[in-house]
């Protein structure tokens, strides 16, 4: 097995969102795969569960979570993990992903993807938990780089180094969110290309793309608009290192019609196909 765990390139996918349910059921559009937000389907026996099951009969499904809280100092929630495991089995999820973050502590959940300090102690803590989760789920966990709005003074390494070491030490896959790299780079002032180049290409199982909101002093990862050109160029650079990897467009607020979201996602094909462009040309466009 390779470092991507032989997980396939599913092509270009989009997020499965309630507002598009009727369109999907009526037209069964030509989409390569869907990503379902795990928590939206864990405790419902109604229409969302029924729709997900119908979609899973026709398309590959990937589960993407927001409440694993892998970096929390609270104990892992095995009640939650049992439900994730059951849902993954029911939908034949190709893989299960979540974020490098913590969402709460002391039993409380902020429902936000809160940043971690990147130091040796945190690395050991998170790596241990990633292994526990992977063992329990009986599948490799795939972790996404978060977008963040603050940095901890105690961090002793950049985020890309933390991710690279975590992937190797915990033997997990990476979901590289190119928009998040752009957002965090703007907010923290690090070099975009250096970040991408430090990510172990053979660990990248999936890409995320999305729009954001630039407030001048900082960028918020809002997923409410088209992907900007700089992010597309960064994606092209990243794909040049990893080869074609499953790619997904997230659009979670001000969601337009299915066709608009799908067309935006399919723009990724141009950049995947153009990945043979010389590195110097791509870097110049960033």
């Amino acid at each position: 097995m390779n470092k991507r765990f032989d997980l396939p390139d599913l092509g270009i996918g989009i997020g499965l969102r309630t507002t598009h349910f009727s369109h999907i059921l009526a037209t069964w559009p030509e989409v390569d795969w869907f990503e379902a937000l795990t928590e939206n389907f864990l405790d419902t026996g109604g229409r969302p569960a029924w729709v997900l099951d119908r979609v899973a009969e026709r398309y590959p499904i990937v589960l993407h979570g927001v409440s694993l809280s892998i970096g929390s100092t609270d104990p892992l929630d095995f009640n939650y993990l049992a439900k994730v495991k059951a849902l993954a089995s029911r939908t034949r999820a190709v893989w299960v992903s979540d974020h490098l973050c913590w969402t709460g502590v002391s039993g409380r959940n902020t429902h936000d993807l809160l940043p971690l300090p990147y130091d040796e102690a945190t690395l050991r803590h998170v790596a241990t938990r990633v292994r526990e989760v992977s063992d329990y789920l009986e599948r490799p966990l795939v972790l996404e780089n978060p977008s963040s709005y603050l940095e901890f003074a105690r961090s002793s390494m950049p985020e890309h180094e933390f991710l690279a070491r975590l992937a190797n030490e915990a033997d997990c896959g990476l979901l590289l969110d190119v928009n998040n790299v752009y957002v965090s780079s703007f907010n923290h002032g690090f070099d975009l290309v250096a970040y991408i180049d430090a990510i172990p290409a053979d660990r990248v199982v999936q890409y995320h793309l999305a729009g954001h909101t630039n407030n001048g002093t900082h960028i918020i990862d809002t997923h409410d608009d088209h992907v900007i050109d700089e992010v597309w160029n960064l994606y092209q650079h990243a794909v040049g290192r990893t080869g074609s990897v499953s790619t997904l467009l997230e659009w979670d607020a001000n969601i337009p019609s299915f066709d608009v979201v799908h067309a935006e996602a399919r723009k990724a094909l141009r950049y995947r196909d153009a990945r043979a462009r010389p590195e110097s040309e791509v870097a110049g466009a960033l």
Binding site: E39, N40, L42, D43, T44, G45, G46, R47, A49, W50, S67, S72, T73, D77, Y80, W102, G104, V105, S106, G107, R108, N109, T110, H111, D112, L114, L116, P117, A121, T122, H125, Y149, L150, E151, F152, A153, R154, N187, H188, G189, G216, T217, H218, I220
Partner: protein, 279 residues
């Protein structure tokens, strides 16, 4: 020189700062936050950026927390949000999530305590009507998410011997709630969802059935007699005991009416099973 606070301390501190109502400055200086990290050590924990101070950076998370809670509860309680208006609803959410913070991996159940909170909260107009509306909207979300059931079919019912009916108990589907309300909040919510003019929510008792049928949440206004019998069966009473509950109510229940109700309830898919003494 200060030593670095451990990760669990940093997380408890950040949780307090992010979730505390009011300004981020108030949150940093609150007792629970200072117990973990002193307010004047903020710069030792969070770095400033080229454009934002340490305080402004953590304020982004603080501000987004309440916004996210408002958005989640507005989705589940559009009627309550409409009745209160933006500013009052915002204040309600701020107070509610301080009293009942999320302890779940899902936001879907964040509002489970809102009806009881409203019933005891001060400072909000039309509290009784508001609490009724919240109960109704909670029932809708509960029914929407409830587990599905195999439905009791006519063939099974036909196998029940006539003499077994008085002791029969019905198993209701999970996706069903019965509400006795003092205000016509069902009409109000329908008007809100259709962007139509709505009534003034004058007291007018309602006996509502909220249930899921073919994946859609439906609501039906029942007579007091029908609601009373169905509620008794929902509680698990035998048919004869349930009928007893109707004794004080007029007109008396006829066999024809009872059969008609059961026909309607079965057609609506309200029952998942039936047990008799003989099994």
């Amino acid at each position: 020189m200060h030593s670095e606070p451990a990760l669990d301390r940093v997380q408890r501190w950040m949780l307090e700062v992010v979730t505390r109502p009011g300004s981020v400055r108030d949150a940093l200086e609150s007792e629970p936050a200072r117990r973990e990290i002193a307010a004047d050590r903020l710069g030792d924990v969070i770095l400033p950026s080229a454009t934002l101070s340490s305080e402004r950076r953590i304020a982004i998370y603080h501000d987004m927390y309440l916004w996210r809670m408002v958005e989640a509860l507005e989705f589940d309680y559009p009627g309550v949000a409409h009745l209160l208006g933006h500013s009052r609803f915002h204040r309600l959410v701020e107070r509610y999530v301080a009293a009942f913070p999320s302890r779940s991996y899902t936001l879907n159940r964040l509002g489970d305590h809102l009806p009881q909170y409203i019933a005891s909260a001060s400072g909000f107009p039309r509290r009784a009507a508001l609490a009724d509306l919240a109960r109704f909207e909670l029932a809708i979300t509960q029914v929407f998410d409830a587990p599905g059931d195999e439905l009791l079919d006519g063939d099974t019912i036909a196998t029940i011997a006539p003499e077994a009916w008085p002791e029969a108990r019905f198993q209701a589907i999970h996706a069903m709630r019965l509400l006795r309300l003092d205000y016509p909040v069902d009409d109000y919510l329908q008007a809100v969802k259709r962007n139509e003019a709505h009534g003034s929510l004058r007291k007018n008792p309602r006996f509502l059935l909220v249930f899921r049928n073919e994946l859609s949440v439906r609501q039906v206004a029942l007579s007091k007699r029908e609601w009373t019998l169905l509620s008794a069966l929902h509680e698990g009473l035998t048919l004869s005991d349930a009928v007893e509950r109707l004794a004080p109510l007029r007109p008396s229940l006829s066999e024809t009416e009872l059969f008609a109700w059961f026909r309607d309830w079965t057609r609506m898919g309200l029952f998942a099973g039936i047990t008799t003494v003989r099994g």
